[in-house]
Symmetry: C2
Subunit: 347 residues, 2 copies
């Protein structure tokens, strides 16, 4: 009797569980169609995001966080938009340096210009983020901040990605655009914290992601204030790197620019490791996410061995500490915002 009672109870539990599951699946399907993350497949990853947002926004709950403290930070290259086969800012630098090369014969023997001008992608990648930024800073010295922004905007209208044959700023990840919008709808303030140049990103980030210029943290070159020949104040870009917002520079950049510890952070590489650690170490509920590039068919597949966006130590720590790792193949129904038409990122 105890056995059959136990069996009956267990069957009843299983029947009930199945019924609950059916409701859950139905709800999730309905949510997927009408909810805030339509390009995310149902599963552990999506559930972990929705659960976290629900907890920190429930007044009276143990994990409630006041809106002013709902700071969310996102790496850009490889996290919000594609970063292969080379960082898009490097593509811009390459095009700019090519255009300027006739006036600079000395560049043929000088790195990182030599790597750029010879079209050697491996040599270019070997220069790393700092080499890239040195090049960008140098190739744009002597221009005003306004002229630089105009040249980025102009390039975006002309340049195309070598594989996808679309403007680079259309290669933003639709699921991440939806996540940003959903967080903002839940009272979060969304920031970019990227090793990329802050002035490069600000030109297109607001339209692509709904993130205004003052919420973009990035690497920067020194600027110099001067009054030009027409008596107009301008800021000249000097060929000198001022700050690199990569690796340990990310928590330093968060401290300097934002001044609050994030409660949610997303990255995709070891360059984001310290930002993820810094976010995870705060008190209260935290969400730490990593975008894992697993989808060679729709995008690229790379991690521990990649020269760009290497994901090794941060991945180990994610698995050890239970951070959320997004599998692009399994978790995302759509890759690029441009597949769904224009990215309608709202403020």
């Amino acid at each position: 009797m105890p056995v059959s009672l136990a069996s009956a109870t267990r069957r009843g539990f299983l029947i009930g569980f199945a019924a609950i599951n059916a409701v859950a699946v139905w709800s999730a399907a309905a949510f997927a169609r009408t909810g805030p993350l339509p390009s995310w497949n149902d599963g552990v990853t999506k559930t972990s995001i929705i659960d976290f947002v629900g907890r920190v926004t429930s007044p009276g709950g143990v994990d409630f966080v006041p809106p002013a403290e709902r700071v969310a930070v996102f790496d850009n290259d490889g996290t919000l938009w594609c970063e292969q086969p080379i960082y898009f800012q490097a593509a811009f630098g390459l095009d700019s340096v090519r255009a300027m090369a006739p006036q600079h014969p000395e560049w043929k023997q000088q790195q990182p210009f030599k790597a750029f001008l010879s079209g050697n992608k491996d040599a270019l990648a070997a220069q790393g983020e700092k080499g890239l930024l040195t090049l960008i800073a140098a190739s744009h010295s002597g221009v005003t901040t306004d002229a630089y922004a105009a040249s980025v905007a102009d390039w975006l209208t002309r340049a195309q990605h070598p594989r996808f044959h679309r403007p680079y700023n259309e290669l933003v990840y639709q699921p991440m655009v939806e996540l940003l919008a959903s967080l903002r709808a839940n009272g979060f303030k969304t920031f970019i914290v990227s090793g990329g140049g802050v002035e490069f990103m600000r030109v297109w980030a607001e339209k692509a992601y709904g993130i205004p210029p003052e919420q973009v943290v990035g690497s920067s070159g020194v600027t110099q204030f001067k009054i030009d020949a027409d008596g107009k104040p301008v800021l000249m870009k000097l060929p000198k790197v001022e700050f690199i917002a990569d690796g340990p520079g990310k928590p330093s950049g968060i401290n300097r620019f934002i001044g609050r510890r994030p409660i949610l952070a997303f990255g995709n590489s070891d360059g984001d490791h310290q930002m993820l650690q810094w976010t995870a170490a705060g008190p209260g509920a935290r969400f730490v996410g990593i975008v894992h590039h697993t989808d060679a068919a729709r995008e690229y597949s790379y991690d521990r061995e990649s020269k760009i966006g290497k994901l090794d130590k941060a991945w180990d720590e994610a698995m050890q500490l239970g951070w959320t790792v997004v599998d692009m193949t399994k978790d995302w129904t759509t890759m690029f915002a441009s597949e769904r038409g224009t990215a309608e990122a709202s403020q």
Copy 2:
């Protein structure tokens, strides 16, 4: 006939004008009682502010500015709070250095420590903003950013201004607190852009002014990310100045941190001159204001000859270009927020 017609017209015009004026005066008086700037006396200064805000927020008007571009920047020392007889951050540094001095005998012979420890205010002022920041950075090396913020908060509960015998963070100008709140109510985003230390200001700025940490731009020291003995990530403050947001550093700081040119800027000294020029030089409607310290009875009176908050070149340019110069004696009914009770800065 033409003469008397002209006279009649002129009289009619004058009568009409007087009537309009009466309405205007009545409205302004009502506005002063119930409006957003109750601590500002009626007059040219208050009118110029109200007029500007009205123009940039009127949809369809020629001067309309979309909310996202309504960036307003304010110097802090001498513009939002008192800066005499020494910068308040210097007072904090002095107290901190005094507390640490027994462990640093070498400071007795070393500037700017010598000036601090001997209590020589003139020698201290002669070290300028950079000397001050060098001292602050040095005197706080080896502490984490969290420990530093806690020490500032603790100091504010204990220290008192030598003349007003009140905590320093109660010596914020009530009229400016009202202006900040009024601008935010009109869709502006308000920022501090100060030569003061960004980590010093963020501790109390949100409560005093309603300006959140991520909208405080200031000077900074280098921070270093490390994992401490307990395995916890921390940011250590190093004795190295990283960025001085004073003079030409202000437009550079605006470019780096905010990424949009302000449409309204307020300062009080030549250290704000380039920020005011940068703001004024943008297209469309602009408001440039200077707080002129004229009130020795209620606060301090100083300008061209002052070692702290020297106002000379910026004042000349203000008069030449018609920028708004606030006369604290004439324009402000109330000086400090603490005279009206707690500063109820919202948002």
